[in-house]
């Protein structure tokens, strides 16, 4: 059998060729196994949801039960608001903590923070919702977009912290030394050299955290609470796509089920758009040949 392969491997034993093929096939199989669920989920969402996505769905607020039409515009807006707050709070704190761990966090205190971040990463999201409830909702005596945003921010922080740390540690010492050698102060080096060199990795971490919390429902149940109408005030109950999907999906109404599917599809599309936009924005101004 003729096959593509390394030149000069005619003398290689049959067994080694067999193993080589076997491993390649296994790796390819693993790739397929990864891709199948992804496309299955997305495909099913499109199949179930696309029929209910229309202009009204994207621009109108929900109609009362029994009335046809209506949409999730307020939930889309609410999600944007809540995720905006979450990112505004979570990204700087997460990146800051990551910088601390990578650049200064040797010794006990650093290890303690690392451990805390890892534990926080494993705390169920409903528990974080309760914490945000008692921290923000009870003190403000009000369900609010802020409370939802804080809950999601708490969930984003450990992921961003740990990936930022990992990415900064990947920046070779000799790049830092080059900066010190030029008489650039340490804090300047950290921000303008080390963090800049690690930018694409840090952004990956941020987007990972963002995508994860964008679909969270539990922490929003008793923080953002949900709302049938438009709201752009951060101290008012606010609708969010996952909440709306949840409410609609457990309802007994066929029309709401269809809208829940459509909402799920829109949620996924929004996440993909957000990630793509950030990637494009970060890629602009990049020079060629970056290794």
């Amino acid at each position: 059998m003729r096959r593509k392969g390394f030149r000069g491997d005619e003398g290689v034993s049959l067994w080694r060729r067999f193993v080589n093929h076997g491993v390649t096939l296994a790796a390819a199989g693993a790739v397929v196994l990864v891709l199948v669920p992804l496309f299955a989920v997305f495909g099913y969402l499109v199949y179930k949801g696309i029929g209910s996505v229309n202009w009204a769905f994207l621009t109108q607020t929900p109609k009362p039960v029994g009335e046809a039409g209506g949409g999730m515009a307020n939930a889309i807006g609410g999600s944007v608001l809540i995720l905006g707050i979450a990112s505004l709070v979570g990204v700087p704190v997460g990146i800051g903590a990551g910088i601390y761990l990578a650049e200064y966090g040797r010794g006990r205190f650093g290890d303690f923070i690392r451990f805390t971040a890892d534990v926080l990463n494993g705390v169920p999201s409903i528990v974080i919702g309760i914490v945000a409830y008692s921290l923000v909702v009870l003190t403000q005596k009000q369900f609010s977009a802020l409370a939802g945003g804080v809950a999601l921010a708490i969930m984003m922080i450990p992921t961003i912290t740990r990936t930022t740390e990992e990415m900064l540690l990947l920046v070779p010492t000799n790049v830092r030394e080059a900066a010190y050698g030029l008489g650039i102060a340490r804090w300047r080096t950290t921000i303008s050299i080390t963090l800049r060199t690690a930018t694409s990795g840090v952004i990956t971490g941020v987007m990972l955290a963002f995508a994860r919390v964008a679909g969270e429902t539990a922490p929003l149940l008793f923080t953002a609470f949900g709302n049938q109408y438009w709201n752009w005030k951060i101290n008012q109950p606010t609708a969010a796509l996952p909440l709306q999907i949840f409410t609609y999906a457990i309802s007994p109404f066929e029309e709401w089920h269809r809208q829940a599917w459509a909402g799920a599809l829109i949620l996924i599309i929004l996440i993909v758009l957000a990630i793509t936009a950030v990637r494009l924005a970060a890629g602009r101004g990049m020079v060629k040949g970056v290794s």
């Binding site: 050698g181 020079v287 060629k288």
Partner: protein
């Protein structure tokens, strides 16, 4: 113009291990001085003490007196101030990977708060010309990353970057050991020209290189400066037996 360097009873440690013992040495202005010796003898540690890079390693410590021109390196002067006077070129080319060629050269000035665009342009061009890289990169200054250049070009870029902050002294820690012979030749030619404006201290494993580029040579062994003299004297009639053994290839 370059200035001389006076080193008096310099001792350096990594944690509890002493890496340098009582080094006293005076480096002449506007000349190249080579530091030779076997691996682990303290050559790199020595030059890294001259611009206070040694202390960036956790647990590292220095004692003694170093002055660069009229600047006391270890007496209350800030490390960043010292390093702006002393350029450094490392063994492995280390351009800032995400920066363009232009930004690499301008980095030392920009990140220290220098903002005059027009002057920056001039300095970048002059530095790249001094490091003999200008003609090869002038058309892609802002478009390409420093990391996209070849190894030899990257090293000349690093030299330009060091020159851009207008230091008085240039420390080179085995600047050509990762390069092919042609690139090495270019770096050596460069050292010849740079001597006119800078004082150069070059660490090298390559004794031919030391004899080609340097007027003075210091031989280090086990953290001590064994012999320091005119290069010619070191390589023809060394006064210490250990120096002779090393340069004749009996060890190291």
């Amino acid at each position: 113009m370059g200035v001389g360097i006076e080193v008096e009873r310099l001792n350096a440690w990594f944690g509890k291990t002493q890496a340098l013992h009582d080094i006293t040495m005076s480096v002449a202005a506007n000349h190249a001085t080579a530091i030779i010796g076997p691996s682990g003898c303290g050559k790199s540690t020595f030059v890294r003490c001259l611009n206070r890079m040694h202390e960036t390693i956790p647990g590292a410590r220095v004692e003694g007196k170093v002055s660069i021109g009229d600047l006391q390196v270890y007496n209350g002067t800030s490390a960043t101030k010292v390093r702006r006077r002393v350029g450094m070129v490392f063994q492995k080319p280390n351009p800032f990977p995400t920066m363009s060629i232009y930004d690499n050269v301008a980095a030392g000035l920009k990140l220290n708060g220098f903002r005059n665009r027009r002057e920056l342009d001039e300095i970048v061009e002059r530095s790249l010309q001094q490091s003999a890289l200008w003609d090869e990169v002038k058309d892609k200054l802002r478009k390409q990353s420093g990391a996209s250049l070849s190894g030899g070009q990257q090293q000349r870029l690093c030299i330009a970057r060091a020159l851009a902050v207008q230091p008085q002294v240039l420390l080179m820690d085995e600047p050509a050991s990762a390069l092919d012979p042609i690139s090495t030749g270019k770096i050596e030619d460069l050292i010849f020209q740079l001597k006119e404006d800078y004082t150069i201290v070059i660490v090298t494993h390559n004794m031919q290189q030391a004899s080609r580029v340097a007027e003075f040579t210091g031989f280090f062994l086990l953290g001590e400066l064994i012999e320091f003299d005119k290069t010619e004297k070191i390589f023809t009639t060394p006064s210490d037996k250990r120096t002779e053994d090393y340069i004749t290839g009996r060890f190291g």
